[in-house]
Symmetry: C2
Subunit: 378 residues, 2 copies
């Protein structure tokens, strides 16, 4: 254990790296996938199970938590870790992204954003200072500056305006963060739409501010994967090598493999649990849609060699049946299986980088997905 | 282990009894509460957890399973136990009750019931023979005769007609059941509405047919608890003491205490899981409605002395928050807590009867409920 936040790269393989972030609440092995615990729960799974899949850190959504149950109430109850029974590190976003995507009647000024809650229509104000205050009340180990995230495609002038505003908010967030206890970290967020010069300017300016970690925001917002990967390649040389890089809101297993190849250390995404509630399983044989009638009499599990009960012990026929009947257990099992597979993939990635065989791992993993589902035995 | 079905009363205390049913798939300690696994899943909980609460046997619903995934498909996949990963005993109802309550366009004749599925409107026929065939294909350890269950209140002539029809169907069910493997049991079902002479006639006629167990049906269908308890008292002296008695679809913790006092050995009810999905917890302090705002900042668990994680480890504030956000984990935890409390109550009942202190146990348990929620510590 440590009382400070630090990051160490243990091995590199090309641009890919593996290492560990140390925090007072435990170590985060990188590359890391962070399950999303939106409103203080990873949907449909007990916290002990999330940990058992291999997750070192969870993500909590500031926007959701400030509305329900509120940061002040979480603080009164001892902080987010205690509230949701997750004693390991938690990262919170700034709330900015979801203010833009979920709330009504947004108004952005230099000072911050005013918006109406999607839950009850109440008016709220979010400033860089208030976002950091909320994240502090939640007790987040890794916090994000408030930023403005534009949707893609976007006019260059608009992307530039939002990026510059985000830089000014980065400064204010950093200052506000000084009030917080030692051992926590604040990340700056690279913006700039799909415009290389803006992305580079953003990365350089943030690097000059010397954050303990850097996020790449404003990607995975509907653009082609190629655009996303181009932007990562553009930004990466301008981020300090000794600091962790977090690609926000990404992604599919393939997105993560490709982003790791380009130097990314951290990911978060609702995909494993959201897909789990929609009958889509991610496996080493690719995606398996359990709604499909072809599974109705298939007695095989999703992956008989897995050590996750959800993948190993329940037949596809049973999962198909649960999905068809809209039973909670179907969503519970497929979400669990997906969270496990995501962590399995990260374990594989970390091991491969450590052993200098990341390229082989990437190729073999993709071959597995492309080969598809294992053939049904006669 | 045994290859036959048998029942042994180990101790009595007044009319209350405790004992065990032996089956090839394991022992069922009585009085027993059977969680309801409607469509091959106890809603919102993994099968291993159900077992860990202390359940020796589950109930499956013939009506639901015949529609989805169908008895033939379950049989093809190796039977209901394997399908839903529950290797211990399973009891199935006959399907009759849910045909009456859920399906459309029912028509009852001497031969059986024709009805339309509530899922897709398809026409089905259910006869005593078909019900037993389905329960056999599912592989149920304890099966129910097809009966006609009238709703209460009911005209005496109508209750008499349905009771007599149920007796004729009992004969046909018994004959159909002869085709099944040894070690399984078929129960006859006592009907007769709220009319003592009809209930007595039904019990006597069924006793003369010598079933391995007897169910009391047509109660807990909306009548006052007093009527239900009167009918149990009316019927009990006419049921063979050496056979298990199952009160179908019951009930609240209080219903079960009172029915055990009147000689009942087995219960099933959706209440623990249905209430769990509606934020209502059953505890030794009575019912706790977690929707109530008074729990919003209450850091205490539901029952800190419980050995069930759902009761012991999660704060009321957190459960309230999950319920308010309609999060799956709220339904999962409260259903789990309720199933655990129901089994805790049965453990307490069995122990008390064995030690000849059932009356004390009944009084103390009711005092606990009446005393209500433990006071909040300052």
């Amino acid at each position: 254990m440590t009382d400070t936040f630090s990051f160490k790269v243990h091995a590199t393989d090309g641009t890919a790296r593996t290492g560990a972030i140390s925090t007072p609440r435990g170590e985060i092995r990188t590359p890391a996938f962070m399950p999303v615990g939106t409103v203080a729960t990873v949907k449909g799974i007990y916290p002990e199970q999330v940990r058992a899949t291999g997750a070192d850190i969870l993500l909590g959504n500031t926007y959701h938590l400030m509305l329900r149950p509120s940061a002040e109430r979480v603080a009164k109850l001892g902080g987010l870790h205690k509230f949701m029974r997750w004693e390991r590190p938690i990262l919170t976003d700034s709330g900015g992204f979801q203010v833009m995507s979920l709330s009504g009647l947004r108004k952005i000024t230099e000072k911050g954003v005013t918006f109406r809650s999607h839950v009850d229509g109440a008016l709220h104000e979010m400033t860089p200072e208030r976002s950091i205050e909320i994240q502090g009340l939640l007790g987040a180990d890794i916090q994000m500056q408030l930023d403005e995230c534009v949707s893609l495609p976007c006019e260059e002038a608009e992307a530039e305006r939002a990026m510059r505003l985000s830089l000014r908010w980065a400064e204010r967030s950093k200052k506000a963060f000084e009030l917080q206890p030692k051992g926590r970290a604040l990340y700056g967020i690279v913006q700039g739409g799909a415009v290389p010069r803006l992305r580079i300017e953003s990365a350089r300016e943030l690097a000059a501010m010397d954050f303990p970690g850097y996020s790449i925001g404003g990607l995975a917002v509907g653009e082609p994967q190629e655009v996303m990967l181009d932007m990562i390649e553009t930004v990466e040389p301008h981020l300090p090598k000794e600091k962790p890089r977090y690609l926000m809101g990404v992604g599919t297993p393939d997105d993560m493999l490709e982003a790791v190849a380009r130097g990314i250390d951290m990911f978060d995404c609702v995909m494993p649990t959201r897909s789990g509630r929609h009958a889509l399983a991610f496996t080493r044989f690719g995606r398996i849609n359990l709604k499909n009638a072809r599974h109705a009499e298939d007695s095989r599990p999703l992956d008989e060699e897995s050590d996750c009960p959800a993948l190993r012990d329940y037949s596809r026929a049973y999962l198909h049946h649960l999905v068809r009947c809209e039973e909670m257990l179907g969503a519970m099992l497929i979400s669990w299986a997906n969270l496990h597979y995501y962590q399995d993939l990260m374990r594989g990635i970390r091991g491969a980088i450590a052993e200098g065989r990341f390229e082989d791992f990437r190729r073999e993993t993709k071959e597995g997905w492309a080969r598809g589902d294992i053939p049904r035995l006669a």
